[in-house]
Symmetry: C2
Subunit: 414 residues, 2 copies
């Protein structure tokens, strides 16, 4: 094979990636030259992958709203549905290309000249070309073999490049494709000057170690950027994106809340939750994190879903601490049980004190919040009373505050 | 350090793990001797970690229902809140120990003799002992140093073992603890015969490669089982569990829907979605997967949350296919775009045909489902009509079926 020397993610075609910087994780002191975790780009696909979500129907106005918000948030690319999908899809793509957004506008088309020409006519900044390469898809979807795929890919790429437009070539279902075929194909399109090759876990089967191994090998074979796309069927979409960047990938596909085919792809917010750990400066300077919640709410409303209770960052309890031992430490120093500072995302922390799992340190803090004075021994007695009540039924904050105030009043009367 | 030779997860204290078997992933043909992905055990902590979820209040009846369902589902262990937390916690633990469930009953206590004695008195099968080992927790939580921690740990473990009860010793916030301290501590408790050591990503900061490296090293240091516990703050809880098993861990902590402190831990259903890929026989023979949805619904109701739209397996659209190119292939052969067979979990597949992204193959299939007959050219014309309507507004299934029937009627009349 004799691969060309790796550029370690410092891309030949797109020189805008910032310099690598050492990782910031408290427990990771050895630098990793291959890693792009501190200099990645986001291809936001809510308006393409997200439109494939069961509930999604985006009218023009909604698409414009979402694209504008994403551009303002700071994502580098926005990907839209193919103009070949329907007349309205084409017209919406043209409309969004004309908005003059800061983000580059991409569309995602099948690997054929007809689709490529249509995409170029719409005024996009880049075209994302895709074809299935697994034996499953060769057999049951398009019925084309690798020779035909390679030939067509080169023709399409050469055409798009001749129009001075950025082009990405991606396989589909990459993790069930023949690995040697895949490397040959990627090497061929790299040699004709494709801007990015794409690795896609279309069915959501890959695990982080498989992703790392595949991307690291690919990094030694191609000079161009490497984009990755991960479905979440087995719950690894965020971890796989992180592993891909560690192995030298440069671009990650996301959608807001992860919406997409089936249970979706790497979510924008979840990816940033993962990346901010260890890459705080890059993430906080590049993206307007305070706007994440608004964007998620906008998309959730557009596709009529609830924000999952366990959503990273914006889930209703993402920064709620309950057990006494946790709450006590958090009161002393939030970093004890928080790896992400909620303030970075404009969120706030909440310490739960009304349950049977509460502890006296937390109750003491609440007593002080209420402006009352007690000794530690008194707070401990009070805590036992609260735990006894909370053992019988759920306690609202009001209930617990009443118990505290009554106890305090009784103390005064003694 | 001169570590003792690794047992590669074949545990000295608990000989019940089945023999290793080769991985079944279509793209992974090289076996991995270190991996326990085909022979792991589940420690289900909905009644301990899950009770620390913001919304959780489990009365005795609910606890009994959940424990019974989990035991019936096939989880090997059920972990409950410490009896030291409150009088009702203690009484509930005793009640559940007396149910005679198939799963072993554990409780999770602080590393001190008082809590250990209380746990033993309740009649549990095993005690999970925990203490914070990170400098953050040494400083801001309990204020104990490593010498004190080791001495206490050994005393507590010796006591619990003397009662013929299984004992696990876990650090807390393991990924921000001093690694050498951690290995010394684990080695010390392994030498006095602890059944399992526990690695806990208490703050949800770890990534799969860190997990793999830590667990693999630990696997060479201790003979006992290795339990792992992953929070989901940065969206890696499922992937980290998988990486831990690949590195030789033996036990994974889960909770139903992942409920726990903050946004929770590795979810039971999500873990099984991950593990069934590559370990189909182990997962399907060991757990009653058809009951997953009922258990999730029961817990969701008890803590008043909605099942997340993107929940693995049971999310409302986990097996819904929408884009024409996906749907066409799925109609030919489901494995093209599904890595998990929904029937394994008693779920079913749905092919979306009412959108602008639909394709003629899907409409042809619907035409046949409705018992109508058309030529391919007619179906293509019909598909254009449906896409044109779906471009204007969201189409319900009824709407699309009406368009199909009207089109068919018009054909008859020509």
């Amino acid at each position: 094979m004799c691969p060309e020397p790796s550029t370690n993610g410092v891309n030949g075609h797109d020189g805008q990636l910032p310099k690598p910087r050492p990782a910031e994780l408290p427990y990771q002191t050895v630098g990793d030259f291959l890693s792009n975790t501190g200099r990645f780009k986001i291809i936001e696909s809510t308006l393409r992958e997200g439109e494939q979500f069961a509930n999604a129907f985006f009218d023009t106005e909604t698409k414009v709203k979402i694209a504008t918000a994403l551009s303002d948030f700071g994502v580098e690319y926005i990907e839209l549905t193919s103009p070949a999908a329907s007349p309205q899809s084409r017209s919406d793509l043209e409309t969004i290309c004309k908005l003059g957004l800061k983000s580059k506008i991409l569309t995602h088309v099948r690997c054929n000249m007809e689709d490529a020409r249509l995409a170029v006519e719409c005024g996009v900044d880049g075209v994302d070309v895709v074809i299935g390469t697994s034996s499953f898809l060769q057999k049951h979807s398009h019925g084309k073999d690798m020779t035909y795929i390679t030939k067509t890919a080169i023709e399409v790429i050469n055409y798009i490049k001749s129009q001075n437009i950025e082009v990405r070539f991606s396989s589909e279902d990459s993790f069930r494709s023949d690995f040697v075929d895949l490397l040959s194909l990627y090497k061929a399109v790299d040699q004709v000057g494709v801007n990015r090759v794409g690795v896609a876990d279309t069915i959501g089967c890959a695990s982080p170690r498989q992703v790392y191994d595949l991307v690291r090998t690919l990094r030694g074979v191609v000079h161009c950027d490497i984009e990755t796309h991960f479905h979440n069927d087995t719950g690894c979409a965020i971890a796989n994106a992180h592993a891909a960047l560690e192995a030298g990938a440069t671009h990650i596909d996301t959608s807001v809340l992860g919406i997409g085919e089936r249970n979706g792809i790497t979510p924008l917010g979840g990816l940033l939750a993962r990346m901010i750990v260890g890459n705080h400066e890059y993430v906080t300077t590049r993206y307007k994190l305070h706007k994440l919640k608004d964007i998620e709410d906008m998309v959730a409303e557009a596709v009529q879903i609830n924000i999952p209770f366990n959503n990273p960052i914006t889930g209703f309890c993402a920064f709620t601490h309950k057990a006494g031992i946790h709450a006590k430490a958090i009161l002393n120093e939030p970093s004890t049980y928080e790896i992400i500072n909620p303030a970075d995302f404009g969120m706030s922390r909440y310490i739960h004190f009304s349950s049977r799992l509460t502890g006296w340190n937390v109750i003491k803090s609440r007593v002080e919040q209420l402006g009352l004075k007690m000794t530690d021994d008194q707070v401990k007695t009070l805590t036992s009373k609260i735990k006894a009540m909370a053992d019988i039924r759920p306690l609202a904050i009001d209930d617990t505050d009443s118990i505290i105030r009554t106890f305090h009043l009784d103390l005064q009367e003694v």
